[in-house]
Symmetry: C2
Subunit: 149 residues, 2 copies
DNA sequence: CTGTATGCAAAGCATTTGCAGAAAC
DNA sequence: GTTTCTGCAAATGCTTTGCATACAG
């Protein structure tokens, strides 16, 4: 997906949404933090550095909007808050995370095999799959080494 | 896993937990509803039919306890509340759900391929996997048919 | 101009916690 | 008998909402 401003501006225009300064600033946060999984509070804290009067409610409303536009992907790591990442691919797919049970670190991984699995499941269950989320829990390399010490 | 009472009683005793009437009643709810994914509120409502003075806090505390004992499995379908199901297998594995985006129905499916995928990921990423959760979002057969009408 | 977006504060939910009384073992 | 457990109510943490004002198109 293309994340230059003119492209995004069009996406807003198409749906009659206004591209306000607040929304631009929040968008920029995600463009600058492609590899992170930011919570609403994270975004609010970052955003306040350049515009300290943006309300938390606006952040929430914008995150919801950007998810609806498929610019962001909402993810849930089970830590009691929703997190968001920029949706790099055009299809809402490929969100796979390795979550370390010791340090909580989240590691991304690319997949190809899930597609095959999807097809098999679709065949066996008459379920039409449009998206999947996969989380693996375990221990990252660093925590494994610490454990062995 | 064996879910008869004497077995469970032992499990409590081993850890110096008391098998109170409230805990027995809550356990029974899950034994009677093996195929369901019950929220704390669901459990509270069912439990109140036979003992209307069990507090919601006790339900929450018991669900946490039973999860810790690996009698229950806590799952999250992203609907804002935690759900619990009895842990049929001895290892905390094989929780795979097809979630219908139209009606919200949750369909279980058994897997074998995930084990292979786990092994490949472990090799490629030096991540030691102990558990996984997989959710597929899509449309169940019934909703597909309604859609076509 | 007009309807949408914002900030603030208050409300809403699921869940957790403090505490005094109750009850397993 | 003691320690653990319970019920209640209050507190918490994330998120949503109502409303008057501000502003993008």
């Amino acid at each position: 997906m293309n994340f230059d401003l003119s492209n995004l501006r069009q996406k807003f225009k198409d749906r009659d949404y206004k591209l306000t300064p607040q929304r631009q600033i929040i968008l920029q946060v995600f463009i600058d933090n492609r590899d992170k999984h930011l919570s609403a509070e994270d975004v609010h804290n970052i955003v306040r550095q350049q515009a300290n009067d943006i309300g938390l409610a606006t952040v929430y409303r914008t995150l919801e909007l950007l998810s609806e536009l498929e610019i962001l992907q909402k993810i849930d790591f089970g830590d009691g808050r929703s997190r968001y990442e920029i949706n790099e691919t055009s299809s809402p797919h490929h969100h796979h995370h390795l979550i370390c049970l010791t340090c909580g670190r989240v590691i991304e991984f690319a997949d190809d095999l899930m597609e095959d699995l999807e097809n098999i499941i679709a065949e066996n269950s008459n379920f039409s799959i449009v998206d999947h989320q996969v989380k693996f829990y375990g221990y990252c390399q660093e925590c494994q080494m610490k454990r062995d010490e």
